[in-house]
């Protein structure tokens, strides 16, 4: 449904995107992750035709965004990082304007009312956008993206400014939209990506650092297991004891957590919790806490991004 092929973009001397390629299948929700300045918004702006790429191409449902812009753009609903709102208009007038701008052939009043109800903004329809809270503005931005029921939705940080209840509503909505739309979702909230997305693309320094399904990235596709452990004792002594265990790849000290207790991150090829227990039992040290780590998307993200930077 969405195909990004060898796309590069340079701003002056800064290489914003460096030959990135990925595909999103029809009905998939793709999470787009990366630190600030990694190239996420640039990629989204290129996919939607807001800016052009220096090389490569973007196909939306087989339509090239540069060669057939009208056909490609009519298939996309886009919520940019800053919602494109005309502050002096009322919500209803703004959505009517966007409806006409997108040349939608559905019955206007009925369609807009349905979207307003779905996004719980029907109570502010006659209010001036400038007078509304950030949460409302974000939802109005999403409402304009949903106008015309486009098959592709590109959502850049859709949960920004929403309160916790609204964030949950937004997640449920995106999940529901994913049933019959192809969605690219950019977010800094990793739990949101984890809760909503089928696949992930991690981007860093303009390059794709990792891509695949969440399951693949978080476990089945990984060669290592990670254990977080807090041990009471001398830091150097504990390090020596841990490094002697068979199968350990790397031990990283994360510093003192409480008086006399040190936290370590242990990477190994297999589950080494029993071996660690035995090794510590042979010393005077005591295990205060031991738990499998690296199971959260946050750890994977930090590992990939920091590894990529190194």
């Amino acid at each position: 449904m969405i195909e990004v092929r060898n796309v590069s973009k340079r701003y002056g001397r800064h290489q914003a995107l460096d030959n990135i390629s990925f595909k999103v299948k029809k009905g998939d929700i793709l999470g787009f992750l990366g630190p600030n300045g990694a190239g996420k918004s640039t990629t989204m702006n290129i996919i939607t035709g807001y800016i052009s790429c220096d090389s490569g191409e973007v196909l939306i449902d087989g339509k090239n965004i540069l060669d057939e812009p009208k056909e490609a753009k009519s298939r996309i609903g886009y919520l940019p990082e800053i919602p494109p709102l005309y502050n002096e208009m009322t919500v209803r007038k703004y959505l009517e304007f966007m409806f006409r701008l997108k040349r939608i052939k559905l019955p206007m009043d009925e369609h807009i009312s349905k979207i307003c109800t779905d996004l719980s903004i029907d109570d502010v329809g006659e209010r001036i956008i400038n007078h509304l809270s950030k949460g409302y503005r974000q939802r109005i931005g999403l409402a304009q993206a949903l106008l015309g029921d486009p098959p592709v939705l590109i959502l850049d940080e859709p949960s920004v400014g929403l309160d916790p209840a609204q964030i949950i509503e937004m997640r449920n909505l995106i999940r529901k939209l994913g049933e019959n739309h192809t969605v690219i979702l950019s977010s800094h909230v990793l739990t949101e990506i984890q809760a909503v997305c089928d696949n992930i693309v991690m981007i860093n320094n303009g390059k794709i650092a990792a891509a695949g399904s969440i399951d693949h990235l978080m476990g089945t596709g990984r060669d290592t297991t990670i254990v977080r452990i807090i041990i009471e004792g001398r830091e150097q002594g504990i390090m020596s004891a841990l490094k002697g265990i068979d199968g350990i790849i790397r031990v990283t000290s994360l510093g003192e957590t409480e008086r006399g207790c040190y936290e370590f991150r242990i990477e190994s090829k297999k589950d080494i919790r029993r071996a660690v227990s035995r090794a510590v039992a042979r010393t005077d040290y005591a295990i205060m806490l031991m738990q499998p780590a690296g199971q959260s998307l946050e750890d994977i993200y930090l590992e990939i991004i920091s590894g990529n930077n190194n």
Partner: protein
């Protein structure tokens, strides 16, 4: 395109801009009309039209300053440029909305003519010709203002630059008179908006002058289209 035209025209009247421009135009027109026609007891409005030329130089930047600069500043250009509408259509829609506001202002001349008809015999041919001339010249200034608005995301900078360019345009005859080479003087003089407009105000309608104003408008609208497209590639 119609959706953008409608929104832009509406936005003039949901903000003070449309009212300020229309009020300023009508106040100056009223003063010039009273002093130069009613007070002096003449039904010729030529001097009113010539005086209003300079007022337009200052009012048109107020009409055009926000057309693209504000969209860029508020990021609403993302809504326009990611919609299935061509850049050319966006530019034309904004241009037409500004032109309609100008034509609404120019309708004040009809009121002048009606008032004159009570005390004299106005030359309706000249009045209609001048409305047409001002609309033509105004479309050139609007196109220039739109182009300048597409260069920046600051509404203030767009307005000040447009003022400066318009003043420079009004000085073309003065600049031409200082040029010692006749061939260059001829070229610079041929770019004078004022001399062409003055011919219109005297009732002399030249096809070449009409083409001049239309060409200037088309050139700057084309440059605006290219500028916005170029920014997408930058």
């Amino acid at each position: 395109m119609y959706a953008i035209f409608r929104r832009e025209l509406g936005s003039y009247f949901t903000s003070p801009v449309g009212y300020v421009v229309a009020a300023a135009f009508m106040i100056f027109n009223g003063v010039f009309f009273y002093v130069q026609c009613l007070y002096n007891g003449t039904s010729s409005m030529s001097t009113v039209f010539q005086s209003m030329f300079f007022i337009l130089l200052f009012l048109i930047p107020l009409i055009t300053m926000r057309l693209f600069a504000e969209d860029k500043h508020n990021r609403t250009d993302q809504a326009l440029l990611t919609s299935p509408v061509s850049i050319g259509a966006i530019v034309c829609a904004k241009f037409l909305s500004a032109l309609v506001l100008l034509v609404i202002c120019l309708s004040a001349y009809i009121i002048d003519g009606i008032i004159l008809s009570f005390v004299g015999s106005p030359d309706w041919g000249v009045i209609i010709g001048n409305i047409l001339a001002m609309a033509l010249m105004g479309s050139s200034f609007i196109a220039i203002g739109i182009f300048i608005s597409s260069l920046t995301e600051s509404v203030i900078i767009a307005a000040v630059l447009s003022f400066a360019v318009n003043v420079l345009i009004s000085m073309v005859d003065t600049i031409a008179s200082t040029i010692p080479w006749d061939w260059m003087k001829g070229i610079v003089s041929s770019l004078s908006f004022q001399s062409k407009y003055n011919s219109f105000s005297l009732g002399i309608i030249s096809f070449a002058d009409i083409i001049f104003f239309l060409s200037a408008a088309a050139l700057f609208l084309f440059l605006t289209d290219r500028m916005i497209d170029r920014r997408r590639w930058a």
